[in-house]
Amino acid sequence: MLALVPRDLDGVDADASTLSNEELLRRVATGDRDSFAALYDATAPRVFGLVKRLLRDHAQSEEVTQEIYLEIWQTATRYDPTKGGAMAWMMTMAHRRAVDRVRASQASRDRDVRIGIRDHAPAFDSVTENVEVLIESERVKAAMLRLTELQRQAVQLAYFGGYSHREVSAMLSVPIGTVKTRLRDGMIRLRDELGVAS
């Protein structure tokens, strides 16, 4: 595969920085490293920002970002543009990878959660109290504020904190079933507020 030459670069060779992420990803799938570099330049601040939000730790965030981009390189052949945008594909992968890393220290976090929410308060506050600071987009911020308090807290802890539903349940002192329902209701509400449709 690496030996394959991208087919339609003949003559046209557009400046990679003007290509869409989808087109770049398609070229990456043919082993085109220049397109990969261009894709990295176009997307890395988004990916790194997300990873760093979840992991906090700078060194770990770099490691995980590296894992994500190598996975993008390796699995670009599986990207199907008819199923969604390139950025969505990469951000979903990035979030999963970041959460995986958070989970890697699960044992210590489980212990924290068992000790009680009070001891967890700093992390909890930094995640939930900052809708204003946390979210840059006014549109998303407004949509978040339309959720109920419990929906918003659950969604924020899960997405921005990388907490499992079990941890969210302990932190908010509500049953797991309730957390699952709040997560679903909250995401449905967000979907409707943001006008996301497939």
């Binding site: 951000m91 840059e136 995401m187």
Partner: protein
């Protein structure tokens, strides 16, 4: 097949797209997804909604050095051009070492497995979009294969991303090359083979960890496609040498032929 995802599993869709389920729950949810188009549609929309949350976070410029480090690794990062077979060895090398228990695979099983490869590649394209499995009615076997292939890719990139990751390439005496990628800290290694011949029926390639005490089986693979990556089963010890031999199908508990490739990690 209910029109609405109203059962217990249906309530998991939010937690699923937020990656808040446990591994078991996620697997259960994904297999339930194959039965419900409504649930799949909901998951697609909610996953896109989660992406909106991600994009609402302020971008952070990564350190400049990271870019170079990532680009440097591309040369040793195989791309998944086609479906790749998972390692067909038990995790526990001791099981493979027991004579007679070397997981004999019938011709029928082999044929069936191959037969599933094509649908899987289609499935992978879909699954890759959101990291979930679309496509109702997909054989469970295919789903499992897809998950294993994805696990292989993800394990290879984990080894490559380890701070102490190293690699070495050797020629295979029967043709082709083999690149071993390893991390002593993770005690894991993966091999990327390129241009190796397909073996006649009844034969398989087998991987070994070699040390002073002898050879420990580390999985078997069949050359399939130009480039293929295989994660070795079992733990790598510092200084281990990795070898490849040709063995009867199912693998052997100790090498029965001379190695066709040897990579030293010391």
């Amino acid at each position: 097949m209910s029109p609405k995802p109203s059962d217990d599993i249906g309530h998991d869709s939010g937690a699923y797209v937020l990656h808040a389920l446990s591994a078991d729950e996620r697997a259960r949810f994904e297999s339930a997804l194959t039965d419900s188009e409504a649930a799949r549609a909901e998951v697609t929309e909610l996953a896109d909604t989660a992406v909106e949350l991600g994009l609402s976070i302020a971008p952070v410029e990564p350190p400049a050095a990271l870019r170079g480090r990532i680009l440097d690794r591309l040369a040793t990062s195989p791309q998944l051009a086609a479906f790749e077979a998972p390692v067909e060895a038990p995790i526990d090398g001791a099981v493979a070492a027991r004579p007679g228990s070397a997981r004999p695979e019938s011709a029928e099983e082999r044929a069936r497995r191959r037969w599933t490869l094509r649908p899987v590649s289609t499935l992978l394209a879909a699954a890759a979009v959101l990291g979930l499995l679309f496509g109702g009615g997909i054989a469970v076997n295919a789903v499992v294969q897809a998950q294993q292939a994805s696990a292989t890719a993800s394990e290879v990139s984990r080894i490559q991303a380890a701070p102490d990751s190293r690699h070495a390439t050797v020629r295979v005496s029967t043709g082709g090359t083999a690149t071993l990628i390893w991390s002593a800290a993770l005690k894991r290694s993966a091999i990327v083979v390129h241009g190796m011949d397909a073996l006649p029926g009844g034969k398989t390639y087998e991987l070994w960890y070699l040390d002073d005490a002898g050879a420990t089986p580390a999985g078997t693979f069949d050359a399939r496609g130009a480039t293929q990556s295989v994660v070795l089963a079992g733990a790598m010890k510092p200084g281990d040498t990795v070898g490849i031999t040709v063995e009867p199908s199912g693998g052997s508990s100790a090498p029965t032929t001379a190695p066709i490739a040897v990579v030293a990690t010391a």
